[in-house]
Chain length 392, copies 2
């Protein structure tokens, strides 16, 4: 894919001029899949007195979440909460292994070796490590470069999944909407700050960001004007964020098919998720449920960050690209499980999943409306979760 965007001084960027391409993408999720019933088991162990938490778990619209262990993982079964130091140790062991595998997949597709890489950019909200995973990976002789030939490896790591892509980045149209989402340090790990207004704010901020972005790319084909003319790779921050953006932008779940599929099968993996969505969107079975059966040449990439900030970009598909898939040996992390693979096989199944997820969301909304007629402006993360946000 090639990326386009705009500059602060109003000059426009052509896809060719920018010379930015994603030449390889790699995604690696941990091997275990947890269903709502598994999380219910965990909740009962630690929060037996909080039926509300257990109820929410059934309304997220997430069928399975990828995890580094089962509900019997020692870290999830201590007689106290793990400390930030203990969480760091698990991250460095399991997170780094996932990042290395994802990076290898991306490099394989791009036909590059680690020594070709001049610049590594990684992102995570789950840990802080100095040196970072690139140190453990020991990629030849890394160096920063800004010349057109520079090859950069962009990678994300989260508790639930890891994604990587080779290419470059251009984010534009960032809008800020107050501090409603954050992650600050605490002796027990990074604590999420999550306002119940996140879904509404996120949905509202996408339209101006999209309009700003489109206005700076004058040479798009004439049939790419409105949101529904594009495919969408939206960060699936939660069920109500997906449905809110749909309503705000006049698009359908089919436009965001890869966002739904990723969310339903793996949940929200925070900053790494957008790369997973982009990887999913290019897979053959996703084309079958494109709106009106027509796969779009241009894709809107859209992700949310702390603040809230929203970052958008336009990607152009490379239809001639031959995808080279690296078969992993399973030595670093086990290969994807059977149930994960079978999840995304057919058109009918995903559409049924999306409908099921929407029904659940509506039911939860109705229940909430009768219990809490007004969502408070500021609330705790429980309220936010009740609104269908999946912890960023």
């Amino acid at each position: 894919m090639a990326l386009s965007g705009t500059t602060q001084n109003g000059t426009s960027n052509e896809f060719g001029d920018l010379n930015l391409s994603i030449t390889g993408l790699g995604v690696e999720y941990p091997p275990y899949l947890l269903e709502p019933s598994d999380l219910d088991t965990l909740c009962k162990r630690h929060y037996a007195e909080s039926p509300a938490v257990r109820a929410i778990n059934n309304y997220t619209g997430i069928d399975t979440r990828s995890a580094i262990g089962t509900v019997d993982h020692p870290m999830a079964n201590m007689d106290r909460a793990p400390t930030i130091e203990e969480l760091c140790a698990v991250f460095l062991k399991d997170g780094v292994a996932l990042a290395v595998t994802a990076a290898r997949k991306a490099l394989h597709e791009a036909q590059l070796s680690p020594s070709d890489i001049t610049h590594v950019v990684s992102t995570t909200c789950t840990n802080s490590a100095n040196p970072g995973f690139d140190h453990f990976w020991r990629i030849g002789k890394p160096a920063y470069g800004s010349e057109p030939g520079a090859r950069k490896l962009i990678s994300g790591q989260e508790g639930q999944g890891v994604s990587g892509c080779v290419g470059d980045q251009q984010f534009v149209g960032e809008k800020r909407a107050g501090q409603h989402l954050g992650f600050d340090v605490h002796p027990l790990g990074w604590k999420v700050v999550l306002s119940p207004r996140v879904p509404k704010l996120a949905a509202a901020v996408v339209e101006p960001a999209f309009n700003d972005l489109i206005s700076t790319i004058p040479n798009l084909p004439p049939n790419y004007k409105n949101a529904a003319d594009f495919d969408w790779a939206l960060h699936p921050g939660g069920a109500t964020i997906l449905s809110g953006v749909e309503r705000a932008m006049g698009i359908t779940p089919e436009h965001m098919r890869a966002s739904y599929d990723t969310y339903i099968n793996h949940g929200n993996s925070s900053s790494a998720t957008i790369i997973s969505v982009m990887d999913r969107l290019r897979q053959k079975d996703m084309d079958e449920i494109a709106p009106g059966g027509k796969v779009k040449d241009f894709v809107v990439g859209c992700a949310f960050g702390p603040g809230i900030a929203v970052e958008t970009c336009i990607l152009k598909r490379n239809m001639n690209h031959v995808r080279r898939t690296l078969v992993t040996t399973g030595q670093v992390t086990p290969p994807e499980t059977e149930s994960e693979g079978s999840r995304s096989e057919g058109e009918g199944e995903l559409e049924a999943d999306i409908q099921g997820m929407k029904d659940k969301g509506e039911k939860l909304s109705n229940t909430l409306s009768s219990v809490h007629p007004e969502v408070p402006e500021q609330g705790d993360s429980l309220t936010a979760a009740l609104n269908g946000v999946d912890l960023d």
Copy 2:
């Protein structure tokens, strides 16, 4: 200043071609200066039984360290160590204020307004905050850009000082030498991993990094070949790192005059320090003690990071640059103190300071040799401190 470097694929970069310049630099230290006697007071309060810690404090070669408070600051006088959460709160209050002031200075010199900025890069080893300080600063409409006209604000924040520069960056010649320096999370803050081999490793890695860098810039004037032909802006990680690089590279303290001056007057402010050194190097009084009275047109920038990693760049001075200095009101942070200003007035004083620092280092080395004939390969941070490393 303009920057130069090289690419992984062997193509060379000319200063003009790269189109990268630092057009503004801003540095802001917190208002208090702590002397070794102040730290001794603190040590006696909390570690009365550890005379070794107190002794080291007299051998760092640091006359004063910049601090956000006196030894009576509440955070330094609790009946327990502060938690990572409490440290985060202090950082967000005092660190963000310093970063904003430093950024304003840099913007003022560059004659830019916040809305001109397309990209903010910030660095710190002292905290993790999402959103970061740029959120609080609320700079117009930030966006990433890679086109030549993009203006980026690079900023660093540390416990002791804050630096900022407007420009772009190019790091090359990164060499890795095992994990001897790190910062990982802990309920009581980021814990330093510091091996006693850091000074030796750091000194040893600079020569190959410098040689790699020089070999990729073929069009330097013929009188810029060896290390001593350049001025040096070296990260002052500790007294023995400075003296070790001197020996390894055949350069004098006068080549690294700004590194010594920054270290002696403010200590090591971690990742932000290199920007302070660059800002100090361009000041008039520094020119008076240039080697042989000759200020060099080209400067080697060299900093160390976790791993250890070393990053080097070549900067070309802009002799025609007229520096615009922002007079701060003192509302955000008090202006520099009298003692800080008087520190760097004359040639004689700094040279005497450097000599005094070296004498102390030698005395400590001799003492250590008689007590510990061999420095262990792996040791605790106390041993490292005894070797003249100032906590990264």
